[in-house]
Amino acid sequence: MNESVVISGVGMVTPLGTGKDTFSRRLFKGDSGISEITSFDTSRFLSRLGAEVHGFIPKDFISVKNLRRMDRISRMTAASARMAIEDAGFGIDASNRDRVGIILGVSYGSTDVAAQFAGILFTEGPGMASPILVPNTVINAPAGHTSIELGFRGINSTVNHREASAETAIAYAAAEIKNGRADVLLAGGADILSEFFFEIMTHFKAVSPVNGGAEGARPFDSQRNGPVIGEGAGILCIESMAHARARGAAPYCEIAGWGLSSSPSSPTDWPSDPAGPILAITRALESAKITPEDIDYVSAAANGGRKLDHLEAEALSAIFAGESQKPFISSIKGAVGESFSSGGIRTAAMAISIREQTIPPTLGLENPIKPLPFILKIKKETGINYGLVNGFSSGGTFASLILKRIDE
């Protein structure tokens, strides 16, 4: 029961590129994945920017037989899962497949297919509604497709809590490994950008530029005016330290603790009181049996939204109030946008940061809203023993993960 849980592989399809090498090189270099949206016409919207995935070739990762049946989100998920398994050097076969599973965070899922299905239903009538589209309209389709493509038959779950979906999924997966209910779990998140979804987000004033000004993602910046919506998938390969060692793997880091909490808020709004996020971080610290001073780097949930960034800055100020040497803070959402289930990509980035002992920059941050040690335009090489990943969502759902460098 006290087995430590490790991340032994990562895989991702992101606006910065596909696969950990391209992703991490561009992330540390300070490249941005944000540009004008090209997959649909944005001329009728106030917002034009998005963090889209370009240049992803699903055939490189997925068998043609299964690929034909998959939509965009399932392709990104299955490809990321394959990369994570390969990065971990793990092979799935008949002897182990019943002890391998997936727990995926998905916020809105296949909004493209759902809109297509509903479009036919409402314009041509139920008789024309396509049975071919049906399997991909459900939010658990990406996890289902991935299990078929990779052939594993253990735990299979999909978790949904907007911006905290993937962090919650990873916490669940880590607990399942600790409880011995699986040997290897894929965990992370996936979401896509689609036209109607984008339109809804703009109507909810949930996208930069909310109240005018220059469009862009500026986490923690005093000039921030909303997030830029992104897309992508990020998957971790998670197993116990003993399981990883037995097969000669060299994990990135340990998942040392996690904390979950909530606080009162309507689904589309944020609480103003930082008690909820403080509770999630405190619970994560307790679960990892460490204190705030042990944290070296915080990968923030901040996305450039007025309320979220303020809430998180307040929570971090309170948690680290007693520390003379506060941890460094960055948010990679300035580079990859807010893809909702971005926690898979962000936790993978933390695992890479711990291995490389390097913190990625916060693109778009020039004038921080609080005097905290933010990493601005340039990456920082520094010792990272413990990293904190925050997944905070509207509606008041908070999940914090603590990753730990493995002692040599």
Binding site: A129, P135, H145, F196, L260, S261, S265, S266, G395, G396
Partner: protein, 415 residues
């Protein structure tokens, strides 16, 4: 370290045959059919017109005075109503201040705010964006139900929403048990909620998986499901906490198992491999020998493929004993409530244990040679039900089985 036992101290539900748990008990006892015409949307253009719609849907009546229903979807309202009933049943309404941070919410979702969202989308397609009430999307995300529950009750514990189609509600209860066992919560409001919606109705119709009349689980002439709607909520609580506050305990959550077919997105593995593995995992997790199971609440959707596969799986897991265990599909009464089904059937299972009865499978008139178990077709039975296995199998090959037991201080009771 002693493993924390988790018990059920409260139940709540609303569905096609009941607006509350006492009503539900009566309806299950009497084998009431709640499947009839769907009126929540216009079914004229659909091939089928029936479903398990809630008979009396009055938010003012369902939600406590002082709780605003503003921007809540039909799905959210059902979940809230069932949660409040379950908390009252558990003697935890309102949730005491000292429990707010230790009370979690885990909900299994399905279509979420689809009914409201699809109406706005229909308008949108008609008017190209003019006059569309985008606010109808504010509770579109399934996570909204859990958000509304924590917000209205002021809770600060862990909150999660599962989306594994028809096994969501079952998985939610299992995860709630895990949270309590890990010391991350003392009480968890766990369950599922599912509204009828045009899009869901259209997807199952497009697959040809809906019986135009009413579903006939395990019958030779079964043609598919009846879609239903509803919510089921169980209050899961650490045993020590329940004992310390002198709560009435209705049953124990003994274990759960999750597996995946990795076979096909919408069809079950005909060999029942996924179903067998999740039933076995659940029994193992519960520390229950297959011989001890007194009743199986089947997934029993009434699709030709599921009922055949599930019967095969039960025979594989239970061997000869399979023919002696009553198996019933309560979906025959209220329809398939998808994301809520596992949780509503959790309520059924705990009621069966506490009230000592087995609910029937209705509408079964002609036996299928491939479905040859005891499906409790003659009506509900009095029975000393100590251990129940409840199955939920879903699209995506997601399977979850849950085991409930009669609570005694000593532990599992069996023959």
């Amino acid at each position: 370290m002693e493993i924390e036992r988790v018990v059920i101290t409260g139940l709540g539900t609303i569905n096609a045959i009941a607006g509350s748990v006492p009503e539900f008990y009566g309806a299950l006892r009497n084998g009431v059919c709640g499947i009839g015409p769907v009126t929540v949307f216009d079914t004229t253009d659909f091939k089928t017109h029936t479903g398990g719609q809630i008979k009396r849907f009055d938010p003012q009546e369902m939600i406590p005075a002082g709780f605003s229903t503003k921007r809540m979807s039909r799905s959210d309202i059902m979940a809230m109503a069932a949660a409040v009933e379950a908390l009252k049943h558990a003697g935890l309404f309102p949730v005491p201040d000292e429990l707010l941070a230790d009370t979690g919410v885990v909900i299994g979702g399905g279509a979420g705010g689809m009914l409201e969202g699809e109406e706005a989308y229909r308008q949108y397609l008609k008017d190209k964006g003019k006059g569309v009430r985008f606010s109808r999307f504010s509770s579109f995300c399934c996570a909204s139900s859990a958000d509304h529950i924590t917000s209205r009750l002021g809770l600060m514990g862990p909150k999660t929403t599962f989306m594994t189609a028809c096994s969501s509600g079952a998985t939610a209860m299992g995860y709630a048990r895990d949270l309590i066992r890990a010391g991350m919560a003392r009480v968890v409001i766990a369950g599922g909620t599912e509204p009828l919606s045009r899009i869901t109705y259209a997807t199952f119709n497009a697959l040809g998986a809906v019986d135009p009349e009413f579903c006939k689980p395990f019958d030779k002439n079964r043609r598919g499901i009846s879609l239903g709607e509803g919510a089921g909520i169980l209050i899961l609580e650490s045993l020590n906490h329940a004992l310390n506050r002198g709560a009435q305990i209705h049953g124990e959550f003994l274990g759960y198992g999750v597996s995946c077919d990795a076979h096909h997105m919408t069809a079950p593995d005909p060999q029942a491999s996924g179903a067998v593995r999740c039933m076995r995992t659940a029994l193992l997790d519960a520390g229950v020998h297959p011989e001890w199971v007194d009743y199986i609440n089947a997934h029993g959707t009434a699709t030709p493929a599921n009922d055949r596969m599930e019967t095969l799986g039960i025979k594989e897991v239970f061997g000869k004993k399979a023919f002696q265990i009553p198996v019933s599909s309560t979906k025959s009464m209220m329809g398939h409530t998808l994301g809520a089904a596992g949780a509503i059937e959790g309520v059924v299972s705990v009621l069966g244990i506490f009230q000592r009865f087995i609910p029937p499978t209705i509408h079964m008139t002609e036996p299928d040679p491939e479905c040859d178990l005891d499906y409790v077709v003659e009506g509900s039975r009095d029975a000393e039900v100590n251990i129940v296995l409840s199955n939920s199998f879903a699209f995506g090959g997601n399977n979850t089985s849950v085991v409930f037991g009669r609570f005694t201080e000593k532990g599992i009771v069996h023959e």
